[in-house]
């Protein structure tokens, strides 16, 4: 599957990011509405904004408390098992929920990159991200 990068306004000129429409759910619970999440090869795991959690039946601070350190410093997160829905795929993953994430979601190495062979292709206009599902025995 190839997906074009999406434009967002920049501070001076528009910027292209690898953004995918995904949804999440608690096991056997209702799915969230689809939302845009950023494919982030520098993120250790998948992280979602805590605002999504109550609507799918997750009490954020009832999860396993951990910290994540990024460019903006260190923040508390709470980890929960969730199902990540992308296209026809459903992935059972552990995801961190953050009160301060500036976007709705980050798709990182654990939980997302481990399930796809991912190529960022800047040779097209707009650039595209190519995802090939990996199935392990």
């Amino acid at each position: 599957m190839r997906v074009p990068f999406k434009q967002v306004p920049g501070s001076t000129i528009p910027v292209l990011y690898p953004l995918l429409r995904v949804a999440i759910s608690k096991r056997h619970g209702p799915k969230s509405r689809p939302f845009e999440a950023m494919v982030d090869s520098g993120a250790g795991d998948c992280m979602f904004h805590s605002s999504i959690a109550p609507g799918i039946g997750i009490k954020v601070e009832g999860g396993r408390k951990e910290t994540r350190t990024g460019i903006g410093g260190t923040q508390d997160v709470w980890v929960h098992p969730v199902q990540l829905w992308f296209g026809a795929d459903m992935l059972s993953i552990e995801a961190a929920f953050s009160h301060t994430l500036p976007v709705a979601g980050l798709l990182g190495r654990m939980g997302f990159f481990e399930h796809y062979k991912i190529t960022f292709d800047p040779s097209t206009h707009p650039p595209e991200i190519e995802l090939e599902r990996i199935y392990r025995a």
Partner: protein, 68 residues
């Protein structure tokens, strides 16, 4: 689902969106159909207007380059 960059309509919609908020974009990404301070507020608004195709975007505090 995601065939093209939908540049102009998407950009215009995002430029008009409140910052550090949640918005719902139409499936073709050309317009904002709901917005609010939280994910739940926007989902509730979508249910009120009977929209089943919009998707949500969280706008950042500013449109500076993101380094998360």
């Amino acid at each position: 689902m995601e065939k093209s960059i939908q540049s102009e309509g998407r950009l215009l919609a995002l430029k008009s969106a409140p910052l550090n908020a949640w918005i719902a974009l139409s499936d073709d990404e050309s317009k904002i159909v709901a917005h609010g301070a939280t994910y739940e507020e926007v989902v509730h608004r979508l249910e009120e207007i009977g929209d089943e195709t919009a998707f949500l975007v969280k706008t950042p505090p500013s449109w500076d380059l993101l380094s998360v």
